[in-house]
Amino acid sequence: MLDRGYYDGFGGAYLPEILIATFDELEKVFQEAKGDPGFWQEYETLMSTYSCRPTPITFCENLTRHFGGGRIFIKREDLNHTGAHKANNVMGQGLLVKRMNKTRVIAETGAGQHGVATATMAAKFGFDCTIYMGEVDVERQRPNVFWMERLGAKVIPVREGTRILKDAINEAFRDWVTNMDTTHYVLGTACGPHPFPEMVTYFQSIIGKESREQLLETLGQLPSRVYACVGGGSNAMGIFSGFLNDSSVELVGVEAGGRGLDSGAHASRLCSEDASVGVAQGYKTYFLQNQDGQMKETHSIAAGLDYVGVSPILSHLKKSGRVRFEAATDDEVIDAMSLTIRKEGLIPALESAHAFVQAFKEAPKTSQKDIILINQSGRGDKDIFTIADAFADPAWQQFIIEKARKIITEKAKTYNA
């Protein structure tokens, strides 16, 4: 029997028969592209002209002084076009869709970042586009929905299950099994059936590749620790993959601790007792599930981390001990975010801020010779509604109330006219 896409027992491709041929084709096209020396070149050119790769690494002098330990550097994935590392994966898959001559893309989205990135790619490449998004996420990430629609995508709110990311993935699969002839499913993270974990990691590895080169070039030194937040695991795999072979570099993945690991309201698969190995959404990994294998509700302040599964490659790296995993709570995230904004003028996404929390906890204990590298996977602008809520900013609240009042008045006018 084939043993496809396993990482020490994690991964695989648990697919409905109807999709096997589609995955065979995808795998073939992906492997061909990987083997084609021109392909990575094409990908890099696209990313350097459409997005702004290489993204810079920013030295955070004030945070460094504040914590008094190693020098803190930030990899600036927030500067990507559409505001997050998601663009890397999406544009790469876009090139594959062209190779497969497909004309339509679908995607799931949680934070909305992947949806916006996919809709953007579809606009640029001229594909039709449908985005599945849990109803709960549609609510908390409305601005992204607005932009997806402007970009020409159809956004379908998913009202099944827990109405968040995992349910959107299921719906996307249901679409795909119907329309695979014309349609590619642009999975947004290093999860799902093989070859997605490998493929998404391949495209995201540009983050780690650049980071390593940039640090060696400007400082002549490797980082002591690299921090990344872990939702599905794509930005983490992206930056980690640059340093996997550097045994001196400690890699730290930070999951959503939500309201605390004891609360049950979190999304921590790799460092909580609430998770165990299972098979769902086409692959084997740690899932937040009950004894029967039913998936649990998850919670995070960051929609993009609010997911039951995790990259099988990260499960493997957890098992092998190569990556250490930690969790950051919602409250810690808001604090780390505020501090970063004030001290450095950087606005990390709520997702990214999880990585900052753990780096900040450990920074004071590192030596001044150490280099601490944090992946800022995205920018926080998109989170304004969540963050303004977290701050309970009265001026913002007044603004929203006024806006609503105006809309209602306008509507009444139209209605009466």
């Binding site: 084939l2 409905p16 299921n170």
Partner: protein, 253 residues
């Protein structure tokens, strides 16, 4: 075992009927009544679905039935007891239908052993292609249960043969792309697909996804051995009543 049963039945009937319920939906008591009326109406075998939180291959009707059953506290243990109860109460073969995680978390060997103890003939696990199924296949063989595999219109002929080499009992041919419950327009197009299926295996062929009334059954008669009625009876119970199920089944053949 299952294969023999089906082949002998096929000597008496031109086409067999397989129906489906989601265990725990609307509840176990009604489920029992539905099974009873199906058996009385002449159904030849049945799938009993253990609900799963991520039923990726199912369309909205069965999906919601899964969710409803779970939200009422349906457990795997209770489902297995119910299945045992059905298998011991009614004289037709029963199959478990569910997603792989249910088996995996229960323990694949233990799950299959329980199936055997409970007199369940086989299982359909739509997200478990044979490539991923070694533990499952070993256990099914050890306990002499039938692993039902799936052919789809997108399955190449070579792969059909590959799949058939692991299958027992019958082959479940899905009629079209998509998930359960959507509309299928049966037409002569299906002919060459079924031709390919026939050539890949000597097992009886079941056809499912979108079979919903007598005209579909008439169309399929002579083309396949088993017609699968899935979503349609759930809809019937939801829109009308449990009492409608018997007459509906009887009207199909």
């Amino acid at each position: 075992m299952l294969e023999q049963y089906l082949k002998s039945r096929l000597k008496e009937k031109k086409i067999l009927l397989m129906t489906h319920i989601v265990m725990g939906y609307p509840n176990f008591k009604d489920g029992h009544r539905i099974v009873e009326s199906m058996v009385e109406a002449g159904v030849d075998l049945m799938e009993l679905q253990i609900p799963f939180s991520e039923p990726i291959a199912d369309g909205p009707v069965i999906l919601r039935a899964n969710q409803s059953a779970l939200s009422k506290g349906t457990t795997v243990k209770r489902c297995l007891e119910f299945a045992k109860d059905m298998a011991n109460s009614f004289p037709i073969p029963f199959l478990i239908m569910t997603y792989y995680n249910i088996l995996y978390k229960y323990g694949v060997e233990k799950f299959v052993a329980t199936m055997a103890e409970n007199n369940i003939q086989g299982a359909i696990v739509p997200d478990l292609p044979p490539e991923e199924g070694k533990a499952y296949l070993d256990a099914m063989a050890a306990h002499n249960r039938s692993p039902i595999f799936i052919f789809s219109p997108t399955t190449p002929t070579k792969r059909m043969e590959y799949i058939a080499s692991f299958a027992k009992g019958f082959i479940y041919c899905v009629a079209r792309k998509g998930v359960t419950g959507a509309e299928t327009t049966f037409s002569e197009d299906i002919h060459s697909y079924l031709e390919r299926c026939r050539q890949a295996t000597n097992l009886p062929l079941a056809l499912g996804f979108g079979v919903k009334d007598k005209s579909d059954i008439d169309f399929l008669t002579g083309k396949v051995d088993i017609a699968v009625i899935g979503t349609q009876t759930i809809r019937l119970v939801e829109d009308e009543s449990i009492e409608s199920v018997g007459p509906f089944i009887r009207g199909l053949r």
